[in-house]
């Protein structure tokens, strides 16, 4: 059995989660400091990718990353690299659809943290940076970790946008989800089932970890 789709899906989800992790906590921290109105506005904007159908996200990404797109054309010019039809494009797609999950979970965790501890830190003269990295973040680590795991699980299951921007090339851009689709189209049910099983196993493990983390928080 060609295990490339598993390797590809895992690396895309891992890299995307890494990017989303930092983007998500950065956004969550910045926006939790803003006014009510601003918070509302940013919340909507940053949560939209989660409610949009992945094909809509894929459509926009294709326009952006394609060889004639805003970003794609520049990258082609400067680095001679085409982003679409490669696995790099899948990373973009996964970051966009997983970002809202990380953002909302992190924001929830930050806002439920005891403000008084942060204020106490400020009275002791600690910098905002120290407070964020050494007090707030470690204090919210269970929530933030749960957000990261959810983002990873979602990134692993990305199909619509990935299929549109990366296509399907066996051995290069195939992910578990696009492989199952292809196998179904070819009528290769036996192999499709094997992949479904693999995906179920991974998802099971991932969600069990989320449960485990959340339980310990209480």
């Amino acid at each position: 059995m060609d295990w490339f789709p598993l390797w590809n899906s895992l690396r895309i989800a891992t890299i995307a989660t890494g990017i989303t992790f930092f983007l998500g906590i950065f956004a969550a921290h910045e926006i939790s400091k803003r006014s009510r109105a601003a918070k509302g506005f940013w919340d909507v904007l940053l949560t939209i990718p989660m409610v949009l159908p992945p094909t809509v996200v894929g459509f926009f990404l294709l326009r952006l990353l394609g060889p004639h797109g805003l970003i794609g054309a520049r990258v082609l010019e400067w680095f001679q690299v085409k982003i679409t039809m490669t696995w790099y494009a899948s990373i973009f797609a996964s970051v966009i659809v997983t970002f809202p999950l990380m953002y909302r979970t992190a924001r929830g965790a930050f806002e439920s943290y005891d403000r008084r501890i942060l204020d106490a830190a400020r009275t002791l003269g600690l910098s905002e940076r120290y407070i964020f990295w050494r007090i707030l973040l470690p204090g919210c680590r269970k929530g933030v970790a749960a957000g990261a795991i959810l983002a990873f699980a979602r990134g692993l299951g990305e199909y619509g946008a990935t299929s549109m921007v990366s296509g399907y090339t066996p051995g290069r851009t195939a992910t578990i989800s696009t492989t199952v689709y292809q196998l179904w189209r070819e009528g290769n049910d036996a192999l499709a089932y094997q992949w479904v099983f693999v995906n179920l196993a991974i998802s099971f493990i991932v969600l069990m970890s989320v449960n485990f983390m959340e339980r310990k928080k209480r």
Binding site: L62, G66, G167, G171
Partner: protein, 269 residues
Amino acid sequence: MIQKIRFAAYSLAALMTLSACGGSTAAPTQEDGAAEQNTAAEQTELTVFAAASLTESLTAIKETYETAYPEIELIFNFDSSGTLKTQIEEGADCDVFISAGQKQMNALEELITADSRVDLLKNTVVLVAPKAAQNPPQDFTALNQVDSIALGNSDVPVGQYSQEILEYLGIWDKLNADGKITFGSNVKEVTAQVAAGAVDCGIVYRTDAASEPDVVVTAEAPADSYSPAIYPAAVLKDAPHPEEAQAFLDYLQTDDAMQAFSAVGFDRP
């Protein structure tokens, strides 16, 4: 006591509503015969599943046909023949099926009315490149030098033809091994990828190239490299409207309809 009466009353109301629903589905079939004489006639919806490559030509024919026969409304489902075949097998309601390949129609042998099956059209397989491409491959044999190529997957007729052509030229295995092929799920997806410049080239039908301004045809596949791209059409055994379906299928074989088809590049088989 009053509770029992209420219960009985509600049940009776529910029962009457349900039978009214059942009644209203029975009523139209009795009215259908009378409806043909009414000007405000109930429209017959004819469901046609057709290969994606027929999108432009059938859409043009729909206008002509519906003007000539106002009591018919044509509902099209355009997708790869493989997807449509699967949908029919899984029980989708369909009157007429037009496939881009014999294989998909053969798979539905049990579900079609055998003597309605005709070979409707012939298409030509071509190599296309993005219009803005600097150095497009000029020939099918030049394909082993491209960086990327989009093809239909093995469930799509044009994908099957592409594989035949590339195997005939002896470059299929190498292209696969080098990971240069991206497989699309229908011919329109392949065309869109070439049009967007996401791949260097693609193999589609001449009719798709004609309808997409952002691609150019660089070569036609040698005639003996693939089985003829014949489009069979048939009426389904379980068609909701078998007579109207056969009438439409007969119309598609007339010279009038053929005009719309040849305008985009189809030939008679």
